[in-house]
């Protein structure tokens, strides 16, 4: 029997850290694939164009939506941490973390609306 409950899961900043790590892993998985696709352009423009036709599929657009969210939330979350560790202390870190996730979601939704 565990002595403690997992109450830490209700902490906003614990969740912010979790999202930061998961988004980082997601970007690490994405980047090699991204460079492989860019590498197609070196082989032939036709190959790249035919591959980019896949981007018209709804599932790819949804994946791009998720990717934009991951990129922005990782960027803003990382900026928050750098500011926290290198600049004078700023209160309201929970608000900043929620703000970072909200801005990331907003940017991703705007992106999705534009590509649909």
């Amino acid at each position: 029997m565990s002595v403690t409950r997992r109450t830490y899961r209700y902490n906003i900043l614990w969740n912010a850290a979790l999202i930061h790590r998961l988004s980082g892993i997601g970007l690490v998985v994405f980047l090699p694939l991204h460079f492989l696709v860019l590498g197609l352009a070196i082989e032939s423009a036709g190959k790249l164009d035919s591959f980019l036709q896949l981007a018209q599929m709804p599932v790819v657009k949804l994946a791009e939506f998720a990717l934009v969210f991951l990129l922005v939330v990782h960027l803003l979350g990382g900026a928050r941490l750098l500011a926290l560790e290198l600049l004078p202390w700023l209160d309201g870190q929970k608000l900043l973390a929620v703000g970072a996730a909200s801005v990331a979601a907003l940017v991703a939704i705007i992106f999705l609306i534009r590509v649909l």
Binding site: V3, T4, Y8, N11, L13, L84, L86, W89, Q93
Partner: protein
């Protein structure tokens, strides 16, 4: 027990690490604290219950326990604020070995204060002039914000990083180091900064701020640790601190 609304269902951790929760019925009273509950059980139901307390007024930091999953000072925690539908679960402080029942072994917590150079290092004798320190000086303001720690171990029990990394010095020891490194009278700033910048030191902190959320003294150890990170980075860039 006469009326269900007058009775609390209290689960207390019994035994060591391999123990379990045992439920007791405790009469509900006005202004009752969690420590009152534990004391009532020991004096009326089971005299073998082990727990730790001293002052009962929120000064000594002895009576911290996990209450419904959160570390709290039990002498200043009212049952009415934390009971969930008449149920209270009380366990020994997390992130520390269990001695027995509700008493956690705090040796590692205090040992880490020593590792973090938590003792004031004076450089003057009684024959020297008293150091004049203006209360408004930024360093003194930083000390004032961190100085009221009562060593209760609540931040240590709340810390996710301690849970993941047993070598991590923890919020209280690092908060202490920050307050001493802002004390102009202290003569061990460089040695202390090297100690808290090493493995298990300030750079391990993930800034989840659970320490701040739970500190009964309303301190913000995360802010202190962020300050140590800044000092450490500055010292590294100056070449004063080697990796």
């Amino acid at each position: 027990m006469s009326n269900a609304s007058d009775v609390l269902q209290v689960s207390l951790w019994r035994g060591g690490a391999e123990g379990g929760f045992k439920t007791y019925e405790v009469p509900l009273r006005p202004n009752q604290t969690i420590l009152d509950i534990v004391t009532w059980v020991q004096r009326n139901l089971d005299a073998t219950l082990s727990y730790r307390f001293a002052c009962r007024v929120g000064m000594c930091g002895s009576c911290a326990m996990m209450v419904n999953g959160h570390p709290r000072w039990t002498c200043r925690t009212h049952v009415a604020k934390v009971a969930q539908k008449g149920v209270v679960e009380i366990a020994p402080l997390a992130n520390m070995p269990i001695i027995k029942d509700l008493a956690a072994d705090m040796r590692q917590f205090f040992d880490k204060w020593v590792v973090a150079h938590g003792a004031f290092a004076g450089s003057k004798t009684r024959a020297d002039e008293i150091e004049l320190i203006k209360p408004a000086e930024p360093a003194r303001v930083a000390v004032d914000a961190a100085i009221e720690c009562i060593n209760c171990g609540i931040c240590y029990a709340a810390c996710d990083t301690v849970r993941w990394n047993p070598e991590y010095l923890g919020p209280a020891a690092l908060n202490r180091a920050w307050s001493l490194n802002n004390d102009v009278r202290d003569a061990d700033h460089a040695g202390r900064l090297a100690a808290v910048s090493a493995d298990g030191g300030c750079h391990n902190c993930h800034s989840h701020q659970s320490c701040q959320a739970h500190c009964p003294q309303s301190l913000n150890p995360t802010r202190s640790i962020a300050g140590l990170k800044r000092l450490s980075t500055q010292a590294y860039l100056r070449g004063d601190l080697k990796p």
